[in-house]
Amino acid sequence: MGRATNSSSSSIDSSNHFAFSSTGASSSSSQRDLSTDLRLGLSISTSHPYAREQPSDWPPMKPLFVQALAEEENECNSATFYVKVYMDGIPIGRKLDLLAHESYYDMIRTLEHMFNTNIIWAEAEVDGDHYEKYHVLTYEDKEGDWMMVGDVPWEMFLSAVTRLKITKC
């Protein structure tokens, strides 16, 4: 491999930098592609004559750790988890990808949009005089029980939920 032929002076041409560092004009999606390539150990060719191959083994990390990082990454990115959602009075249900959301707040926002209503869940603040405008969000867990959404940590909810139901107050 060997080093790029640049002198040690202070004026460093930004094109000698790795494409994924510093000024980062690239969008996050192309950064993601680069990182996959890096992890696969492929070298990235660029059009600039002085740019050199990206090292596939930098920064220096132990293989077990790299594996753990990759597994965590896969868990976050590639999975989808669609559950059925029914609303009281509407026979046709919808489907929601829970893994596309990061938290209860995120999911509630999507549901309120989907069903055009205000949703009560464990952390909702309710205006006492207007109950009839609200719907309660519940979920069925792996044991077949119907529980109010929001009591357990988000990740725990994801592992327990099988379907959602929005019922009138």
Binding site: R3, S8, G24, P59
Partner: protein, 583 residues
């Protein structure tokens, strides 16, 4: 020492037993080695009384010579592959096989009790032979090893009746579903330390519970990912005397009975000083851990990928006595500020990258390091993966923390200059080596010229290990180091413009060192051949996985992909694979 007119006392008038007793107090390997060099009689007494031997390069000596010299050997440490093997720069089958060592020891009369291996190839057969050959075998520690499976562990468990320690650190172990934990005999009650955190497969929970229940001396227990919370809670109830705990899976419902039981079990573990693991973790459940944080001296969250910045900071705020902290960079610079204001006893900090190829704002920068240096004056050991570093920061760190023994920095872009001044980081690292007079280990990163090596050669008088990557401009850089660092033992270089002139200037230097690694540099085959010719006491290995190795179609003028050389007393090894050519 001058006695003036008094008669000089000759130590050799003392009977051997007295000298032996004196030598008993000398435990460090270096000191015992020095003792053995004084005279023939001291050499003899020392070698018969030596019980612990450390061999930093398994190819520097043979098992036969080891056994011949130290018949009283009880504890052996062996290291195999060079350090850069950790970063996939060494082929899997390069070498470092423990098999011939165990065979030779088994055939001898050595009563081996402890074996510690690092970066070695271990087979199930050799583990089985080990387990059956030494009646008093007590301790097996495997670090970054591979080539074995849970079958080998089953043999150790089944046959080592007095086993005290089975410590598996970051090994690549094949899972054969061997129920190895069930192989521990019912009469085996001597376990002090059990670490299987790196195992990927399932284990028998009931067998584990029963093992822990019958091990009253158990002080260190590190679980793997498969152990659920329910089991953890039961284990803690059986072993409240634990000093060192590694939690595997930490996912639970904070409203469940199991969680309540866990909370009270943890509270009873008043001796825990060291905590690690959290290989799988549900956030917002860490408060159960807070009660034991006040006494923690070592916290290792480097694999706790499920914990995010806030949780990390909240946890650390409870850990006022922390001396060693291994953490992920999602803690952020601000989080490191919290560490700096909380952990005044901190000696060692390691910050690992949680997202090395991703968005820039996930990482730590020079700011976090400066905060740490200001708040933790006892800091002497650092491993820091960061987005960027500045000279000003390094100069400040050098001033705040003159006690560094180990200083390792890795910027995500290996040739990134100081982002503020656009200068190389020569001055910053120069300040570090000048200020830290006891520095033994250094890893450099960022844009670096020959100048930094001038500083290293000039000031790093105690330096024993140096790791260089993508640095320097010319042979001068490497020469500054070789000429200046008198105590240098291990030098590893990758992707630097150092060539034959530097390699060949002082060939005798390599006999004073354990090893030299150079990869993707300017050194040619001809240069390596010349070196090998001049220094028969060195083994010069060329590692090349291309087809040229098969065809022997090499030209002396060709640059060598990877070269690894080391001093040896036993000539060239005979177990090298095809991709290794020993000159």
């Amino acid at each position: 020492m001058s006695w003036g007119s008094r008669k000089t006392i000759n130590m050799n008038y003392f009977p051997d037993e007295v000298l032996e007793h004196v030598f008993d107090f000398i435990t460090s390997h270096k000191d015992r080695n020095s003792v053995s060099l004084v005279c023939k009689s001291w050499y003899k007494i020392e070698r018969y009384s030596r019980q612990r031997v450390f061999i930093g390069n398994c190819y520097s000596i043979s098992p036969e010579r080891l056994i011949a010299r130290f018949p009283g050997l009880k504890s052996l440490t062996l290291k195999g592959k060079p350090h850069f093997a950790d970063f996939n720069l060494v082929p899997y089958n390069w070498g470092g096989f423990v098999d011939p060592w165990i065979k030779a020891l088994a055939e001898s009369r050595i009563g081996l009790e402890e074996l510690k291996l690092k970066r070695m190839m271990v087979s199930d057969d050799s583990l089985e032979l080990l387990s059956k050959s030494f009646v008093n075998f007590k301790s097996l520690v495997l670090v970054s090893c591979e080539g074995f499976s849970t079958d080998g562990l089953a043999a150790i468990a089944a046959n080592c009746r007095f086993l005290r320690e089975l410590d598996l650190q970051e090994n690549d172990v094949d899972d054969h579903r061997s129920h190895w934990l069930s192989c521990f005999h019912e009469s085996c009650t001597s376990l002090v330390s059990l670490n299987f955190a790196c195992l990927r497969g399932e284990i028998n929970f009931v067998a584990l519970e029963r093992l822990v229940a019958r091990s009253p001396n158990l002080k260190s227990l590190k679980l793997n990912r498969s152990v659920p919370l329910d089991t953890l809670q039961k284990l803690l109830i059986q072993a409240p005397q634990l000093v060192d705990l590694g939690i595997g899976s930490y996912v639970h419902d904070p409203y469940s009975e199991t969680y309540e039981k866990l909370k009270s079990a943890i509270q009873r573990c008043k001796s825990i000083r060291s905590l690690s693991g959290f290989l799988e973790v549900a956030p917002r459940c860490m408060s159960a851990i807070y009660p034991i944080c006040a006494n923690l001296t070592f916290l290792n969250l480097s694999y706790a990928l499920g914990l995010h910045g806030n949780e990390l900071t909240k946890l650390i705020q409870h850990c006022r006595k922390l001396q060693r902290l291994w953490i992920l960079d999602c803690i952020g610079d601000k989080g490191l500020g919290v560490v700096a204001s909380t952990c005044k006893e901190l000696q060692e900090l390691r910050v690992f990258p949680s997202d090395p190829y991703g968005a820039e704002n996930a990482a730590v920068t020079e700011e976090g390091l400066v905060l740490i240096s200001a708040g933790c004056p006892k800091l002497n050991s650092l491993l820091y993966f960061c987005q960027q570093m500045t000279n000003a920061a390094l100069i400040t760190v050098a001033k705040n923390c003159p006690n560094f023994i180990r200083f390792r920095l890795a910027t995500f872009d290996p040739i990134k200059p100081d982002p503020v001044t656009n200068q190389p980081l020569d001055e910053g690292f120069g300040a570090i080596v000048q200020s830290c007079k006891g520095l033994k280990r250094l890893s450099l990163s960022g844009l670096l010229t020959d100048q930094v090596f001038l500083y290293i050669g000039m000031y790093a008088e105690q330096l024993e290990m140096l790791s260089i990557a993508f640095a320097g401009d010319s042979d001068k850089g490497m020469l500054y180091v070789l000429n200046g660092c008198k105590k240098l033992r291990k030098l590893e270089i990758r992707d630097c413009p150092f060539g034959n002139a530097a390699l060949l200037e002082d060939v005798g230097k390599y006999e004073t060192m354990r090893s030299l690694w150079m990869s993707s540099c300017e050194v040619t085959l001809g240069g390596c051949k010349t070196l090998a010719e001049k220094m028969p006491s060195l083994s010069v290995e060329i590692i090349d996985e291309s087809e040229q190795m098969m065809d022997f179609s090499f030209d002396d003028r060709q640059k060598v992909e990877r070269m690894y050389l080391y001093r040896t007393l036993v000539g060239h090894r005979n177990d090298a694979p095809d991709c290794v050519w020993i000159l």
